[in-house]
Symmetry: C2
DNA sequence: GCAATAATACTCGGATAGAGTCTGTCCGAGTGTCTGGGG
DNA sequence: CCCCAGACACTCGGACAGACTCTATCCGAGTATTATTGC
């Protein structure tokens, strides 16, 4: 169970984009060079953020990516969901209903309407994962930005200058 | 990010093993037949549980697997960790230190001793994942067994009879 | 000098290969059981 | 009848392929810029 590296990339990119002036777009090539990442693949991850409505994109010269909404409106959950997809990590395949074992619970645990009572194991796993998602949804990128600006107040200016410089 | 199916299998197997009498071993073949799973692959997952000390194994005739400790001592976290390994889902590759961007934070965020201050993003992700792990560690398989026995009090007997029958 | 136009360079976006991990399968080492023979 | 030895059948355990997802790359569609040409 490994989370895609694209999540880390996307989070850092959102953070970096927050320092450039509104209306200014940064290209995927520039962001990739800044972090020494493969440009085309980073572009792919940024596309996922576009589809999720987190950043907006513009083609052509002077084009690129910029945040589509305020940092306070972007939670870690939003970014993770955009990159990893909406499906949960634990996926119940209902093995309790397969094979001879299924016969034992079919009578006693199947509700009247025919809809099956969810597996207790799946419920427990889902509850734990929900806790994880709640933690992610409770933190916005603005919170992280605050931490970083506390640590090094001038890094934001440096990053903005580097990303908005015309010649690389 | 998809969790291995082996986790679901292992959880169900632990639950099933809890109903057979102590000292009685159940073979991987039997458990696989019960849930209609590939026997050899299920055996592989059970081996992981053995390495983690959750179940014990015995070779030869009358051999098989049985729980190595009480259900109250087996948390969901134990099983997940046994199957999935100890590594966390989110893995910080420190892209903030790679490329030109690394130069900006090297001076301001590196502590005196040379040890780097952990990335704020990695910290946030790790905190969320820790919340997930805490949820998993807080629930034991005994808890799940209680839920199931509440729903269908006689299923335990059925499962024990099926698993301990000599001829399939 | 100014406006319209065509060529241009640059960007994102999706379609296309390669690597790593998860899933599934096979065979060998080891152990308890059963059968046959001897005392 | 009881004990012992040998063969046997059964189990786990690790080594070996196949499938799927993640990673990485390439090329085409579209757009703002820029140079050129005519007025």
């Amino acid at each position: 169970m490994k989370m895609s590296e694209g999540v880390e990339w996307a989070l850092h990119c959102c953070l970096s984009l927050s320092w450039v002036d509104a209306g200014e777009a940064v290209t995927a090539t520039k962001l990739a060079a800044f972090y020494d990442l493969p440009a085309a693949y980073l572009n792919k991850q940024l596309q996922a953020l576009v589809r999720a409505g987190i950043v907006s994109s513009a083609p052509g010269p002077r084009g690129g990516f910029q945040l589509a909404r305020g940092l306070e409106e972007i939670t870690l959950m939003d970014v993770v969901s955009a990159i990893e997809g909406p499906r949960s990590a634990f996926r119940c395949t209902d093995i309790r209903h397969r094979g001879p074992g299924g016969a034992f619970i079919a009578a006693s645990e199947t509700s009247a309407g025919g809809s099956r009572i969810p597996c207790a194991i799946a419920q427990a796993m889902r509850a734990a994962e929900l806790g994880w998602r709640k933690h992610l949804a409770a933190q916005t990128i603005a919170d992280i930005k605050t931490v970083i600006e506390d640590r090094s107040p001038n890094s934001g200016d440096d990053i903005r200058h580097w990303l908005t410089a015309r010649s690389s």
